[in-house]
Assembly symmetry: C2
Homo-oligomer: 146 residues x 2
DNA sequence: CTAATTTATATCGTGCACGATATTTTATTT
DNA sequence: AAATAAAATATCGTGCACGATATAAATTAG
């Protein structure tokens, strides 16, 4: 492999890093209306889909550690979006559940995926490309997560 | 577009976000040997390739704002990796240059891209996939950056 | 049944990332 | 030439992200 590889443009890693930040910033206007951040939106998607969840399960789904998730959940609790309480069965676990307010956010958020898709699709990048991107990244993720 | 779209798995954004963090963590062991972080490594790649650069040019290449880059550069200056000084021609600009130590890091870093490539390649994801990923992400980035 | 280990969450410290805003210098208008 | 605008960098505040470590409950081993 050549020395040229050191160049920024030749690498996969920088595009993924840059794309991640840019896509997140595309979400911001919509998430601002809901008063949440992108990682908080991810937590909500888990809860909307799965209902009450343990901290650990949320963390595993988002591939984040509890030292990231715990303070994030506390902020969401403080905002009245979720509740946290120790499981009765296993006192080590904490059950995260939606408040009525947190549940009510789902309808407002329902339009976001479509709005985002419209922003990401173009004459240079069609649905097929997006799906192919998603699939390859998922293979990569499965390889890399422990 | 269906309500199902709300599901985490159906979206491109989460895979990009997760892959970015996972890939960055793959760099960590090698970057630890150099005593730098991934964003600092990106700055070094710009300087190794282009030589003395204005803060603004580095920021544009990495698609970062100066409120991220400035403190990052200060930390690198503190570590003796780079120097920062106001341009004589235009007192608004700051020229960033490598120290002898910063230049010396290039040889140690030269092996990193190959090591990373070996980690990312597999039977499920070959060089062709990686190149295709990179190209599509770059199209996406060009669309999204301003 | 007690000790050691594992599991689940939390705390602490550091470094991004970025919106909002400030400061200084250069360029442009009037 | 003075006023205004634009450009370049910096400061401040908040929220991740994560390594290292701590704490407490549950499980397993001896």
């Amino acid at each position: 492999m050549s020395y040229e590889q050191l160049k920024l443009d030749n690498q996969l890693c920088f595009p993924v890093y840059a794309a991640s930040r840019l896509i997140t910033s595309e979400y911001q206007p919509y998430l601002n209306e809901l008063g949440i951040t992108y990682p908080q939106y991810l937590v909500l998607m888990v809860l909307w889909e799965k209902g009450d969840s343990y901290v650990n399960d949320i963390a595993r789904k988002l591939i984040l550690n509890t030292n990231t998730i715990t303070p994030l959940l506390k902020r969401m609790e403080h905002q009245g979006i979720i509740e946290r309480k120790r499981s009765a069965k296993d006192e080590r676990k904490v059950v995260v559940s939606l408040t009525a307010y947190g549940r009510s956010m789902e309808k407002k958020a329902a339009k976001i995926p479509e709005l985002l898709a419209n922003k990401l699709l173009s004459d240079k990048l069609d649905l097929h490309d997006i799906v192919s991107l998603k699939n390859k990244l998922e293979v990569l993720i499965e390889m890399l997560k422990k």
